[in-house]
């Protein structure tokens, strides 16, 4: 037994074994590299990427300024300034809407908290910027992200189901429900 090990040491058996392994990898060259900017890995179905504000199919914002996303956010990313819609006293909207994406941890709690599904998570992830301030997004930027990430928009809830009561009488400028 001892003799065998001596022979192995003298002939560099272990070293040669290792070198055989590396050589076999060289000869059977199958790289596992994905050349990232040129080819991309498919994202999983439930991928949570950049946040976006959504619109209805008639170009009106979904957000009703309820502040629930702000309350749900664990890292205080969102700041909502809520206000009444001028001339429509019962309707509220978010006058200003800020997101500090430097702090966002993409947990998706704000999306779950939103009662009108005004927030969505896109599949964008290439948000590297040279200036951190470019990651402080306002409402217009968030709406733009939503526009390009979700081209297919929802109808207003009232129009989605014919049996939903047309309770919010304050929507003056909306087209009348077809019956």
């Amino acid at each position: 037994m001892k003799f065998k090990e001596w022979i192995k040491t003298l002939t560099f058996y272990e070293l040669l074994l290792g070198m055989k392994t590396t050589m076999s990898h060289l000869l059977r060259y199958r790289p596992i590299t994905i050349q990232y900017p040129h080819e991309k890995k498919p994202l999983p179905e439930n991928y949570r990427g950049m946040l976006a504000l959504l619109k209805y199919d008639d170009e009106t914002e979904k957000c009703v300024g309820c502040d629930l996303c702000e309350a749900a956010c664990p890292s205080r990313v969102i700041r909502v300034v809520s206000a009444e819609v001028p001339g429509e006293p019962m309707k509220r909207y978010s006058k200003e809407y800020y997101m500090d994406m430097t702090r966002c941890l993409f947990c998706g709690l704000c999306v779950q908290a939103c009662p009108v599904d005004a927030l969505g998570m896109t599949r964008e992830f290439e948000w590297a910027v040279y200036d951190k301030r470019n990651l402080h997004l306002d409402k217009q930027q968030l709406l733009a992200i939503g526009d390009r990430a979700f081209p297919v928009r929802e109808k207003r809830i009232e129009f989605q189901h014919p049996n939903v009561a047309h309770f919010n009488v304050a929507f003056q400028r909306l087209p009348q429900k077809e019956s």
Partner: protein
């Protein structure tokens, strides 16, 4: 005077050609090493600059050339600026005695010169050993003058390592010198002509295979390469002796390391594998074709050794410092001395075979 002028011009041309080839080879090596290493590790290596990344050395060179040259506060400026040069020049100067092709003398306007060896001095191999030892000064001084603990540790390690492994290099080639009876690189090559069974790796009185193994291990250690890259151990010493260097000075150290690798490969192929001699006389060709096949075989052998260096780097982890020292002094040194003793006995018993 006219003769001297022509001689001077010819030598300068030779030097320029050899330097150009060596530096070109260094550029190729930087890419080849990364490529081979990544292929062995199931990666792709550089792929962005040019098709399949083949222009990467150009990009690297440009980047290093335009980078800021930082001299750290508290560094010994003189030493700091001298160390890279001191490390590069000995590495390049060794190529003066390497025979790249057959030992011909060409008559050029009444001046005789050897086209394939810059100079054929009778102590060629000793000259190379002496100058590679001077290269150690560059590393040690670079480590010491940087005023950084990592650099200093790298320099100290390299001092000990180079001293102990140079000894083994020197002793392992003594067998070859005994069989040849000459220190001249040209004559050593000439002595191995006529097929691979005459190469000193296989030559009959006593094959120098053991000496070759000792030589190649010590050579890897002397060029500070994995698995003996303790002077620049990335995981322990940031970058070792050239931690504080940047820009062109860093590039000089880099060039020196690769030039040393090429030099060591050249020496190994000359001493043990017959230099420019083909493995079979048929493959050598005849007449004026000999120089072409000679250079081809030499290049092939050198690149085989360089590939071997890459292969080893891809395979082996770094040795611990005490392991390195123990291996050098307690294993390689006795083997080298034993090889000398046995070779002398054989050379005495079978003279001229």
């Amino acid at each position: 005077m006219f003769d001297f002028g022509i001689k001077f011009a010819l030598t300068l041309t030779q030097i320029a050609a050899v330097m150009g080839i060596v530096l070109l080879t260094v550029a190729i090596l930087t890419l080849l090493e990364r490529k081979v290493l990544s292929w062995m590790q199931d990666r792709m290596g550089p792929m962005e600059v040019g098709p399949y990344g083949i222009l990467q050395p150009v990009a690297d060179g440009l980047k290093l050339f335009f980078k800021e040259d930082i001299i750290p506060a508290g560094a010994n400026r003189m030493m700091f600026m001298m160390a890279p040069v001191l490390s590069l020049v000995p590495a390049l100067i060794g190529f003066a005695v390497i025979p790249f092709g057959p030992n011909w003398t060409v008559d050029f306007f009444g001046v005789e010169f050897k086209p394939f060896a810059i100079s054929d001095i009778n102590i060629g191999i000793l000259y190379i050993l002496a100058f590679t030892s001077i290269g150690a000064y560059g590393i040690i001084l670079g480590g010491w003058s940087s005023n950084s603990k990592y650099s200093l540790l790298g320099g100290l390690r390299s001092a000990a390592q180079l001293i102990s492994y140079e000894l083994n290099v020197g002793l392992s080639i003594v067998g070859v010198l005994l069989l040849t009876g000459s220190l001249s690189m040209v004559e050593i090559t000439e002595a191995q002509s006529g097929g691979f069974w005459n190469w000193f790796f296989f030559a009959l009185p006593f094959p120098q295979a053991i000496a070759f193994v000792v030589f190649i291990i010590s050579a890897v250690a002397e060029t500070n390469r994995v698995p003996f890259d303790l002077p620049e151990a990335e995981s322990e010493l940031v970058a070792g002796f050239f931690t504080e260097y940047s820009g062109m000075r860093f590039a000089f150290f880099f060039l020196a390391e690769y030039a040393n690798m090429i030099l060591v490969s050249c020496v190994a192929s000359v001493l043990f594998f017959g230099g420019w001699q083909a493995p079979l006389p048929i493959l050598q060709g005849s007449g004026s074709m000999v120089w072409l096949t000679g250079i081809m075989w030499f290049t092939l052998k050198v690149y085989a050794f360089l590939f071997f260096f890459f292969w080893i780097r891809a395979t082996l982890p770094r040795l611990r410092y005490d392991q390195l020292m123990r291996f050098g002094w307690k294993v390689l040194l006795p083997i080298a001395i034993g090889n000398i003793v046995v070779t002398s006995i054989f050379a005495y018993m079978f003279p001229g075979s």
